[in-house]
């Protein structure tokens, strides 16, 4: 059973784009994160239901113009997001 990833619910976040970056305030933790793509897009894609990495990659490919989507890079981004607490592994 592949690892599922779940993002913090949208109403626990204040998402504010600021020129090239996105500032995110996480209400549950009181932390502020300044993120570059694809992190905000990953959070949005995981907002509704938990997904495994392969499904997430497919969803991102469909929604955005990803050139050469690397599954390993996606796992690395997900690991970073798990460390911040914005994403949880199930």
């Amino acid at each position: 059973m592949a690892t599922l990833y779940r993002a913090a619910s949208p109403d626990s976040l204040i998402v504010a784009p600021v020129d090239l970056l996105t500032a995110i305030y996480h209400r549950a933790s009181g932390q502020t994160h300044l993120m570059a793509s694809p992190a905000p897009e990953i959070l949005e894609a995981l907002a509704e239901t938990p997904l495994d990495a392969a499904t997430l990659l497919g969803k991102l490919r469909a929604a955005y113009d990803l050139g050469d989507a690397d599954p390993a890079a996606l796992i690395a981004r997900l690991d970073e997001l798990v460390e911040t607490g914005l994403v949880e592994r199930r």
């Binding site: 600021v18 090239l20 300044l34």
Partner: protein, 286 residues
């Protein structure tokens, strides 16, 4: 506590208790034109004390205490007692202020609009603010600008202006009629002398102002100006705020609003006259 002093600086009330008369006498003289805390109740308490009874008299060392303290703070000599008091009050603000978002910045006001100057120590924000005060601007503060999360306005915190080293001579010339404190030589930060904000700045200290320009000045280069992107402003201001995290969501939304609504510029300047000219030019262009 043997000697007691209290004062309101902007919207914040302080009381200072001291084992020695000296620091309290200096505070009374320099803050003579300031009001007392509202209702006679201070927001923050500061204590200047001797850690051993004999230290009150024999090679006295002033320990800093109060509501909020840093555990390993080094004591100061009694001749620097005024500095100890100012540092202690700053510390209460830095560690305990919860109502306003603290920006580590100087601020001056004209026509109800605030110019906020921020940057590393030594960039000259205190000196620039003091000089602008002598050129018709109202001084709001030289160390902290208070951002009200409810209104987005800047509130004044006009403590004694802290001039260091070369800036002392600059302001002694620039403000010949000014009220200065004693020259404190050989402090951990070099020579320090305090300048009392002028009457107008003290009288208007409860009037907020709309932030209109955020400036990042850097001293020691040929005159230059550049725009600063909102993301950079946001990061630099959070780094410069001691209570951003403590204010949680209110801090985030207040800072996002400030960054979104206020133009920001970085200026390099070779000397203070140049800086003032650059400021006036920028102000006129906005």
């Amino acid at each position: 506590m043997r000697h007691v002093f209290s004062v309101a600086i902007g919207p914040v009330g302080f009381r200072v208790g001291s084992d020695w008369r000296g620091p309290v006498a200096a505070l009374e003289q320099l803050y003579a034109s300031y009001p007392k805390p509202q209702d006679g109740i201070a927001d923050f308490t500061v204590r200047l004390f001797a850690d051993r009874p004999w230290r009150r008299f024999f090679r006295p060392k002033v320990m800093i205490g109060g509501d909020f303290v840093l555990p390993e703070a080094a004591p100061l000599s009694l001749e620097h007692g005024l500095l100890a008091a100012e540092m202690a009050m700053n510390l209460q603000m830095a560690l305990g202020q919860r109502r306003y978002l603290l920006l580590h910045a100087s601020a001056v006001e004209r026509d109800g609009k605030a110019l906020v100057m921020t940057g590393l120590s030594g960039a000259g924000k205190s000196t620039l603010a003091a000089l602008l005060m002598t050129r018709g601007w109202r001084l709001m503060g030289d160390e902290f600008a208070l951002l009200d999360p409810e209104t987005g306005l800047i509130h004044a915190f006009p403590r004694l202006i802290s001039l260091k080293n070369e800036a002392i001579a600059v302001m002694e010339m620039g403000a010949p009629g000014g009220t200065f404190g004693p020259l404190l030589a050989d402090t951990p930060k070099g020579a320090i002398r305090h300048l009392v904000p002028d009457h107008r700045s003290v009288a208007a200290m409860l009037e907020p102002a709309r932030p209109t320009l955020i400036l990042f000045p850097t001293f020691g280069h040929d005159a230059a100006t550049r725009k600063v992107a909102p993301s950079e402003v946001f990061v630099r201001l959070t780094q410069a705020s001691t209570n951003y995290v403590a204010l949680a969501e209110r801090g985030f939304t207040a800072l996002m609003r400030l960054v979104a609504e206020t133009p920001a510029r970085a200026i390099d300047y070779p000397d203070t006259e140049s800086a003032i000219a650059q400021v006036e030019a920028l102000w006129a262009s906005l």
